[in-house]
Symmetry: C2
Subunit: 562 residues, 2 copies
């Protein structure tokens, strides 16, 4: 059956013009654009002068950060005009290994929403990360046979690249052998080191936070992914890249988006709106979210409204607000008047489903798991800083005669990490300053990049309860006070993702935020954000891993007592 | 060993700027661009402020039209800054089938000049062409395993594409299966037919002769190859395409270049010079001859001066004349002060070499082969038009009582075609007006697209001698008068290519032109150009094939006598 869309104002990403044209589609493909007459089709849809652009593409996103299954993300993203995403399943791969990647591929199948994947290149992220498994080049290479796999995901280990580490070299060579892309991740890398990094074959970067950094990378041949996510927001610094000739080498990506942000502000459409409000040309912005990523990733049939392209397009009402009304995917209407229409969710193989739902290999915790045996001398305390992932080190003596060293008045509480993947029993407990928790405890299974169980609290009993609450939920975030669970967001899929809708997850998240304040936490402190990165031994200066405290600058374990 | 090129004015095709930068290379690759110090390399080459751009790429050329082997073409093209070509071996494939393609791949191996291939899609070009063989999809598909093969060459049979002819469909699907490009060839195709043609997956065109045609194709997603060859010259009509955003979808190609034109005017450098003189921006022109074709054909490592790219670059002295001085290929100097340095020519397998050198399967000709048995009635005469490939039909009675119908005073002479590939004995003789040959004869084995033997002359004896001269040379072009060979350009490789240098071939060609005038031919008539297309049954109106006269408009054989 042929369908003709008439009276559209069609965004042509090749000529960068708006054309009054009709669009003829058949079998999910665009087969003609021009002055086709009504009798050339079986069905006519009148666009009444509304604007039409190609379906938007997010060139780099971690689905796990949305805490949603791909099918639930699709519902929100489609309503905002995004019809294709390129995802890095780095987080679930840390928790479930290859099965995590397979799960994400299965969970994305046959959606009216294209999910392509880049293979996680750095699992675990550091030698100090205790992930479920170490994903080697040999384990990854089989995935390139999948048409859904477009390459190797963000290569964070720039030192390994520059020093030609054999295992990293193997991963890169495999991607090149299959003519696949290799995503970069090289914040502030410059000069000779950047040249070496690019020489390895890494051709894009989404970590640029200033214009000079982006321009150097672009001039050296990299495509720049302008990132505007929930936390990392580089758009305003990089707005000059929307000008030619730069715009032809840039795309728009989110990297990490939280459900409330998706619901309230949108997805790639939100970046287009912000770009326009910052002075960018709307057609350049649309091109950077359609044709440029499609051609960069060699996605034939994506990114334009022209013959031979997929009938993926977005109908919107004006060029300033980019207000998405209707969306078509492969010729089918998937969003009508801002509402995503129902679709069938994918069937996931039982084995994969059960594997991701039983990611906790950890016995129930007791108060005694959090007791520190006093020694003489001062104690290394992690000091967190508001709105930063950086930490500092405080060294001072603690009074162990009461509360096992906890000193609420001085904001010294406890934080613990428990290895949860392989039952190693590896664990560490230490002291932390800056979270401002005055009572109760929080626990989370979202802790980059290995996602072990993190618990912070003002007393051991609530810490044990918070930890057990998360363990019993198969993962998630919990807030506990006085022996009672104040709130819980279960994340049963790998301890990272919910099975609920974005609305429900956002609502649970709000409940967590509300209950956190009952712990006496100061305004502006985000305890779950801080704890999510407290175990990542690449961010200076003092972090806690499953094997103990680590001095990030020296990259070595250090003792609790000095 | 590392080599540092210092003090260059480097053309950056990403930022479209000229940067004062040093270029560091190692093992044939660029490993750094920036302010590298002299002590970062083992060898320093001072560019003394000269300009440097990436090696030029010709996105579409038929090597056979140069009448040179790839190694001889390389000598000329390199000196003009072209380091990579994408060739369609359509002509030799008509003469030698798959072996012809293999020969060209072998004859291009290990040159300091990259020759990539598109597979001839239309052999034979028409059902009336008697080629050596019919190249089917099944025969072509094995070639995609070669890293030198980038796709399917110009799809001339647009009717077959639009009507979904099964064999054409198979060829296209194979190219798509291997993620390869499919070159278009669709002069003046527009509207719905163009949409169908593009929908088949054909994404470029090099036949645009006017701006509107090019813009329609570009807006529908095609890359436009701006062709400026020896005969077909579309540059001035398409000069507005050098402006943005169009320039990012356009490249520069020659299609067909003759040796004297290459020697006297250059290759892609000549198109850049002409573009600039027509008002184009030189950096846009360079980009259209480097980055754009490289990215279109997915040639990783080509088309830019940046880390990870091949060290292919051109040193030139100013932006107006684009005067090429030195050329580097894979880091080696291959042209020094305009002179191509010696290199080893490829060894070609004996079997392939002998196959291409024995392409004539035709017994010696005698006068009687050219005698036409008179019948009653008028005769169909091919009328050629100066500077055109079109022909017309004259119908008139001839006087067979003398000279077997030849009438020099009325400019009615004979033309004959002999099938030369498979010994079928198929042949045709008829009359022609417009060549203005008053004495003697010419013969040629260059006759598109099947390259059978064509002989035109004012008497049968000279026609036989001209034909036999070409047969004995294993192919070529000959001019004969009064039983003597006035000139001969042997083309022993498939009857299409010489083994001599461009200088020698150009000199032989000049000798042919000089001797042609001895046949009394009028000024401005190009008899070899006319005869080269006299057998191509796609150009209206009356042509001669190995099976007789053909009415091109009706696509049917017609009798000589009416």
């Amino acid at each position: 059956m042929k369908t003709l869309f008439v009276n559209g104002n069609v965004i042509n990403v090749f000529s960068e013009e708006i054309e009054k044209n009709n669009i003829l589609i058949e079998n999910g493909k665009i087969i003609g654009v021009g002055n086709y007459a009504n009798d050339s089709a079986d069905e006519i849809i009148d666009l009444n002068g509304k604007y039409v652009c190609p379906g938007l593409i997010d060139g780099h996103i971690h689905i796990e950060s949305t805490m949603l299954l791909p099918s639930e993300l699709a519902k929100i993203s489609l309503a905002h005009g995004t019809t294709t995403i390129i995802a890095d399943p780095h987080e679930i791969a840390n928790v479930c290994g290859k099965d995590g990647i397979d799960f994400m591929i299965e969970a994305s199948k046959n959606l009216p929403f294209d999910v392509y994947f880049m293979l996680p290149s750095c699992v675990p992220a550091t030698p100090f990360d205790e992930s479920f498994s170490n994903l080697t080049a040999d384990e990854l290479t089989g995935f390139y046979a999948s048409p859904k796999v477009l390459g190797l995901a963000e290569m964070m280990n720039y030192v390994g690249v520059v020093n030609k580490d054999q295992e990293i070299f193997n991963k890169i060579e495999d991607a090149k052998y299959f003519s696949k892309r290799i995503n970069g991740h090289a914040p502030l890398l410059s000069g000779e080191l950047l040249d070496k990094y690019i020489s390895a074959g890494i051709k894009d970067d989404h970590e640029c936070s200033n214009l000079n950094e982006a321009l150097e990378k672009l001039k050296k041949g990299m495509h720049i992914m302008i990132r505007q996510g929930t936390s990392a927001r580089n758009l305003s610094a990089l707005i000059p890249l929307f000008k030619k000739p730069y715009s032809n080498r840039c795309m728009l990506v989110t990297d990490d988006k939280h459900p409330a942000d998706l619901l309230n502000n949108g997805h790639i459409d939100s970046i287009i709106r912000q770009s326009v409000s910052l002075g960018a040309d709307v057609i350049s912005a649309i091109k950077m979210a359609t044709l440029i990523p499609a051609e960069y990733f060699h996605l034939e049939g994506y990114g334009a409204i022209a013959p031979s392209y997929n009938a993926d397009f977005v109908v919107f009402d004006n060029l300033e607000d980019f207000n998405v009304l209707d969306v078509y995917k492969n010729g089918n209407k998937v969003v009508e008047n801002k509402q995503t229409l129902p679709f069938t969710t994918p069937h996931i193989k039982k084995f994969l489903y059960e594997k991701t739902k039983s990611s906790f290999n950890l016995s129930p915790l007791t108060e005694s798991d959090f007791i520190i045996s006093p020694k003489t001398g001062s104690v290394r305390i992690i000091k967190t800083i508001k709105n930063e992932l950086l930490t500092e080190e405080i060294i001072k003596p603690l009074d162990f005669s009461k509360a096992n060293g906890i000193d609420i008045d001085s904001d010294v509480i406890k934080i613990a990490v428990f290895e949860r993947h392989n039952g190693t029993g590896h664990r560490a407990v230490c002291y932390i300053n800056g979270l401002t928790i005055k009572d109760g405890a929080i626990a989370t299974s979202v802790s980059h990049d290995s996602h072990n169980l993190i618990i912070a609290g003002a007393n051991e009993k609530d810490m044990a309860l918070a930890g057990n609450t998360v363990i019993n939920a198969g993962g998630g975030l919990a807030v506990v006070k006085n022996g009672k669970v104040l709130s819980l967001m279960p994340l049963p899929i790998a301890g990272l993702m919910s099975e609920l809708s974005a609305q429900e997850v956002a609502s649970q998240n709000q409940a967590l935020r509300d209950s956190v304040s009952a712990l006496g936490i100061e305004q502006g402190i985000e305890p779950f954000m801080t704890t999510a990165f407290i175990s990542l031994a690449v961010i200076p200066h003092l972090k806690i891993t499953t094997n103990g405290l680590i001095d990030v600058d020296k990259q070595e374990l250090v003792d609790l007592f000095v």
